[in-house]
Symmetry: C2
Subunit: 73 residues, 2 copies
């Protein structure tokens, strides 16, 4: 991974994959994490420099651990 913001892309891809695996919409996930739907969308597009606290909220809402959402394949 050579991109400057590779971690954003990794996080975004895992988030989307696990969310869809649970058959949740972005809106469902936003509600579970107590975040805004448009915010979740922008995180999944790797547009946001998401903070560790919000990463943790998203991971908890999906029932997984934050480290899982950052693993390289």
């Amino acid at each position: 991974m050579k991109s400057k913001h590779a971690a954003r892309g990794i996080f975004a891809a895992h988030l989307r994959r696990i969310r869809l695996g649970k058959e949740l919409s972005q809106e469902d996930l936003a509600e579970l994490a107590n975040l805004h739907r448009t915010y979740v969308g922008s995180v999944e597009r790797a547009e946001r420099n998401v903070s560790i606290d919000n990463m943790e909220r998203l991971a908890k809402a999906l029932g997984c651990h934050i480290a899982e959402l950052l693993k390289e394949d």
Copy 2:
């Protein structure tokens, strides 16, 4: 881990452990990551809601992967 900001503490502890293992000061790490020394200090005290981009810079500066810095023991 029941704390609201458990991930901050996990990240902080790994960062400090790996930094010390490489015999780097907070100032050394800050320079390698192109961040401010006081910022690195506050991240290591889990005071900061650090962003994914800065987590990635810190991980790269230590030669490790961001997911490693979030693993629960």
